[in-house]
């Protein structure tokens, strides 16, 4: 059975990103994320954090984490999503603030994907997934650049179709940003690769 978890990280979340959240979703508020959840009128399944940047909420299930710990709050939330057997995780409020947080959240996407969970980071101006070897289809969106970055060493056997710059059985290496600022050319963009890990990033052109 499919089950989605929406994790609210610490940054503000534009309401357009929350339009499809339903009562079927598991909602985890990570640290300051609970304020966003409350503002949206949602009830979190779980609120967790060290609450060093904001006070803990007074209602609902709250898990207080130590300040000195190895997991980021968002990574801990991802572990909880796994425990709750969620099959999909969407992280909101986790891109566009401090770069260290954004990069840590991309790590968490990889962690989830390696555990068989389809995971994404959604921000006001960007959308990120981490892809393991396989075949993928992405529906074109207007006014976005699509970029691909290898995350764990070289990506091999990479083919792109439906994009302005297409590739056939190509390689991407971390030291050369060949995959940056591509664009959808058709209704669907096809990405497949044989080896490595890819960061898939859509950035709005307006920024």
């Amino acid at each position: 059975m499919s089950r989605r978890c929406v994790i609210f990280a610490g940054l503000p979340v534009p309401s357009k990103l929350c339009a499809d959240i339903s009562s079927q979703d598991v909602i985890i508020a990570a640290d300051a994320g609970w304020k966003t959840v409350r503002k949206l009128g949602l009830s979190p399944t779980l609120t967790l954090g060290e609450f060093d940047s904001s006070p803990a909420p007074e209602q609902g299930v709250v898990l207080r984490l130590p300040v000195q710990k190895d997991d980021t709050d968002t990574h801990f939330a991802a572990r909880k999503a796994l425990e709750m057997q969620c099959t999909e995780v969407c992280i909101l409020g986790g891109i566009g603030g401090r770069l260290d947080h954004t990069l840590a959240n991309i790590s968490t996407l990889l962690f989830l994907e390696k555990h068989g969970v389809r995971a994404s980071l959604r921000g006001e101006n960007a959308f990120i997934r981490v892809l393991l070897p396989g075949e993928y289809e992405f529906t074109a969106r207007e006014n976005v650049y699509v970029s691909l970055f290898p995350m764990e060493g070289p990506v091999r056997g990479l083919s792109l179709r439906g994009f302005q710059y297409s590739l056939e059985d190509a390689a991407l290496s971390a030291e050369y940003p060949l995959g940056v600022s591509n664009e959808f050319l058709e209704q669907t963009g096809y990405i497949s690769f044989r080896e490595g890990t890819l960061v898939y990033l859509e950035c709005d052109k307006d920024r």
Copy 2:
């Protein structure tokens, strides 16, 4: 002989980052970066770009690049810095805008380091280097978080001293953000590792 190149990428550059630029430095303006260079009263050694986001300057050495090309403007500038036998490259105006540009610029840092050039990205709120296996010393700055991310698969034999969270012969993997949000504890932070590639990131706490 040491020779530094300062590359101005497209984003605005706070003047505090330019305080140490001298007439000895090679200055390359990439695309819209030439406006920043002009505003600062500097004379670029070379201005290059496709000039799709801003008109080309009318003075100085200008290299016009095709719009459809594999290199980003900043990566092309890095190649030019190599041709000019620069031993150090500092990229300004390349962090904090679109995330795809920031990640592409981190790729360019790795490219330069693999060619024996010490390279850094400096922004208003962040400082980035890419480290190859070896021993490094970083002078502590106040109010920054220091984060480490593996860039090409696992980093092994990693030791940290002088930081709040120290490590001894540890491993970092891309799927777990263990290296995020560390802090200087002493005047100098020591980082050494045996295998892999590390992104070293300082982020200001104020953001």
